[in-house]
C-alpha cells in the first residue's frame, strides 16, 4: 500500500449525528475540523478512525476500505488521540509511550525514544505519570501516538485543557509530523489556532460540510457569521491572526 495515500471520506452519514460528508484528506499537512458544538466533528473523526461505523457512505485509505482492514494493520497506519486524557494506572512515561508500539508487537526502542524527544519529555522517561502536570501528561499521550509511527494522526481536541505554552508545544510536534509526511487531522475549537497553524480547514455545521479549503477562506468572517452566528473579524497578518468580537 502506498503510505502517502489520502483518506477518502465519501458521503458518510450517521443517524442523528452526520447527514452527509465527503472529503479527500491529503497526507503531509494539518487538516483542522472546526464547527459549532454538535456539528459532528468528533463523530467524523471517530468514523475516520473506524471507531464508529457510519450508517452509510465509506471511508478508505487510498483505495482500501478502512473498516474492512484488519484492526492491527489499521492501528499501525492510523494513530488516534482521544479527547479524554485517561490513564488508568500510574505507569512511567516510557511505558505509557511504549503502548503506542502495541500494534507493531515490538519493543520499538528507537521509535519510543524519538517520540519522547519530539514532545520534549526525554528527561521524564522514568517518572510516574501522576507526577506530571496536565500539560505534560497530554504531551506524553501525544508521544504514545507518535511512537506507533502511524501514517496518520487523528486527534480529537488535542489542545483542550492545555495552557498556551503546551498548546504551542503540541502544535509544533504535529507540524513536525506533517512535515515528515504524516497526515494530521485535528478537531479544533480554537479558530485562531486553526487559521494560523492548519493547512486546510473543514468546517462542519449540523452534520454537513459548511466550508472547506484554505484556512483564510474557510474561516472568513462571513463564514463565521453564517455558521457560528457570531459577528467577528480577524486582525493581524496571516499566520498571526487574532479573532476579535466588536
Amino acid at each position: 500500500m502506498n503510505p502517502s495515500a489520502p483518506i477518502v471520506v465519501s458521503d458518510v452519514g450517521l443517524q442523528g449525528r452526520l447527514s452527509s460528508v465527503s472529503a479527500t484528506i491529503e497526507p503531509g499537512q494539518i487538516t483542522a475540523i472546526c464547527g459549532p458544538n454538535g456539528a459532528g466533528k468528533s463523530t467524523l473523526l471517530s468514523i475516520m478512525a473506524s471507531l464508529l461505523m457510519p450508517d452509510r457512505g465509506s471511508v478508505a485509505l487510498g483505495a482500501r476500505s478502512l473498516p474492512d482492514m484488519p484492526p492491527q494493520l489499521r492501528a499501525q497506519r492510523i494513530g488516534f488521540l482521544p479527547q479524554s486524557a485517561e490513564i488508568a494506572w500510574d505507569v512511567c512515561v516510557r511505558n505509557l509511550v511504549a503502548l503506542g508500539r502495541l500494534p507493531h508487537r515490538d519493543r520499538g526502542e528507537l521509535a519510543i525514544a524519538a517520540a519522547m524527544e519530539a514532545v520534549n519529555l526525554t528527561d521524564f522517561a522514568d517518572r510516574p505519570i501522576s507526577t506530571l502536570s496536565g500539560g505534560e501528561q497530554a504531551r506524553a499521550l501525544l508521544a504514545r501516538v507518535l511512537a506507533g509511527e502511524p501514517d496518520w494522526i487523528l486527534a480529537d481536541e488535542p489542545l483542550a485543557a492545555l495552557d498556551f505554552y503546551h498548546q504551542q508545544a503540541v502544535m509544533r510536534s504535529l507540524r513536525a509530523s506533517a512535515d515528515a509526511g504524516v497526515g494530521v487531522v485535528i478537531v479544533l475549537h480554537d479558530l485562531a489556532t486553526a487559521i494560523n497553524r492548519a493547512d486546510r480547514v473543514l468546517v462542519l455545521d449540523r452534520g454537513e460540510v459548511a466550508a472547506d479549503g484554505a484556512p483564510e477562506q474557510a474561516l472568513a468572517a462571513q463564514n463565521i457569521a453564517r455558521i457560528w452566528g457570531v459577528d467577528a473579524r480577524w486582525i493581524g497578518d496571516p499566520g498571526s491572526r487574532a479573532l476579535i468580537m466588536p
Partner: protein, 326 residues
C-alpha cells in the same frame, strides 16, 4: 520474568513444604507415624488445591482490575461465583451432595449459566461505537451485579426453603468456603479448568495494557473489544467457577492480590497476571495453613478467615484512594 514473579515464586517454594507439615498436628517426617500417608492423602491434595484456587482467583482479579480500569474491581463482579455457589446449593437442595462428583459439577454448571447470561447480555451491547462500547462496559458491570444479586436471592431462597436441617447446615457451612477434607479428586476437577482459565487470561494481557488508555484508545490500538470480553468472561468463568466448585466462596483474594503485586511491577496489567496467580496461590496456601494451625474448637472456615482479612484491607484501600494514592 519480572521481579514480582520471582519474589512470589520463591515465597511459594518456601511456603509449600511448610504447609505440608502444618496442621492441628505438626508432622515430624522422622517421628510421626504414617507421616507419608497423611501427607500424600490429606495435606498434599489440600495444599495443591489451595494453590490452584488461589492462582485462579489472583489472576482473575488482576485481569478484572485491568479490564475495568478500577483497582476496586473483583472477579465476583461478573456474578460468576454467586452463580457457581447457587449451582452447588441446588445440589445440596436436591440431596445430590452425597455424590462426590455431583456437587462440583453442579457448581460448574452454575458458573457456566452465569457466563452464558453474561454472554447473552454482552452480545446485545454494541461494540462498534466508542459511546456504545463505553455504555456497554457500564451495562456489562451492572449486568454482572444483577446476576450476582439474583443468584444471591435464589441461594437465600434455597436456604429458607431447605428440605431439612441437615441440608440447611450443609449449605451454610459450604457457602463459607473451605478446603477441609479435599482430595485428589477435587484437584482433578479444578486443575484443568483453572489451567485453561489462566491461559485465556494470559491471552488478554496486551489488550489489557491498551485498555489503560481507555476503551476508545485501546480500540484504535487494534484491540477488538468483543473478543477481549469473550476471553475475559471465559477466563474468569473457568478460574472462579472451578474455585467455587471445589472450595466454596472464597472472597477478597481477587481484590487484594493485585494490590500486593502492583507496587512490585511497572503497574501495567500485563505485568500483573502471572505474579498475581503466584501471589494468590501463596495467600490461599498460607491462609489455609494458618486456619489449620489456629487453636480453635473447630477449624475456622477459610472463606471467613479471608473475609476477616479482606474487609479491613478493602476499607484501607478506599481510604487510600480518597487520598489519591492508588
Amino acid at each position: 520474568m519480572n521481579r514480582a514473579t520471582l519474589i512470589f515464586a520463591l515465597l511459594l517454594v518456601l511456603a509449600f513444604p511448610l504447609s505440608l507439615l502444618a496442621g492441628r498436628v505438626w508432622i515430624d517426617p522422622a517421628a510421626t507415624p504414617n507421616a507419608a500417608l497423611i501427607v500424600m492423602e490429606l495435606r498434599l491434595p489440600r495444599s495443591v488445591l489451595a494453590m490452584i484456587v488461589g492462582a485462579g482467583l489472583g489472576a482473575a482479579g488482576a485481569a478484572m482490575q485491568g479490564y475495568l480500569r478500577n483497582p476496586l474491581a473483583d472477579p465476583g463482579l461478573f456474578g460468576i461465583s454467586p452463580m457457581a455457589a447457587l449451582g452447588a446449593v441446588a445440589s445440596f437442595w436436591f440431596g445430590f451432595s452425597a455424590s462426590a462428583w455431583l456437587l462440583p459439577v453442579f457448581a460448574l454448571l452454575g458458573a457456566a449459566a452465569g457466563m452464558a447470561l453474561l454472554a447473552l447480555i454482552a452480545g446485545r451491547t454494541s461494540s462498534g461505537s466508542p459511546g456504545g462500547a463505553g455504555g456497554g462496559l457500564a451495562l456489562f458491570t451492572l449486568a454482572g451485579l444483577m446476576i450476582a444479586s439474583l443468584a444471591g436471592a435464589l441461594t437465600a431462597l434455597a436456604i429458607t426453603l431447605s428440605p431439612n436441617a441437615f441440608a440447611l447446615s450443609e449449605i451454610v457451612l459450604w457457602l463459607n468456603g473451605a478446603l477441609t477434607d479435599r482430595s485428589w479428586r477435587d484437584v482433578a476437577i479444578a486443575a484443568p479448568c483453572v489451567a485453561a482459565g489462566l491461559v485465556l487470561l494470559r491471552l488478554t494481557a496486551r489488550w489489557l495494557d491498551a485498555m489503560t488508555l481507555g476503551q476508545e484508545a485501546a480500540q484504535s490500538l487494534g484491540v477488538r473489544p468483543q473478543a477481549l470480553l469473550w476471553l475475559l468472561v471465559g477466563g474468569v468463568g473457568l478460574t472462579v467457577g472451578a474455585s467455587v466448585a471445589v472450595a466454596g466462596i472464597i472472597g477478597f483474594v481477587g481484590l487484594i492480590v493485585p494490590h500486593l503485586v502492583r507496587p512490585l511491577t511497572d503497574r501495567l496489567p500485563s505485568s500483573l497476571i502471572v505474579p498475581s496467580a503466584l501471589a494468590g496461590a501463596l495467600l490461599v496456601l498460607v491462609a489455609d495453613s494458618t486456619v489449620r494451625v489456629l487453636p480453635l474448637m473447630t477449624e475456622l472456615r477459610l472463606g471467613i478467615a479471608l473475609s476477616l482479612i479482606g474487609a479491613p484491607f478493602f476499607l484501607h484501600l478506599l481510604l487510600k484512594m480518597r487520598r489519591g494514592r492508588v
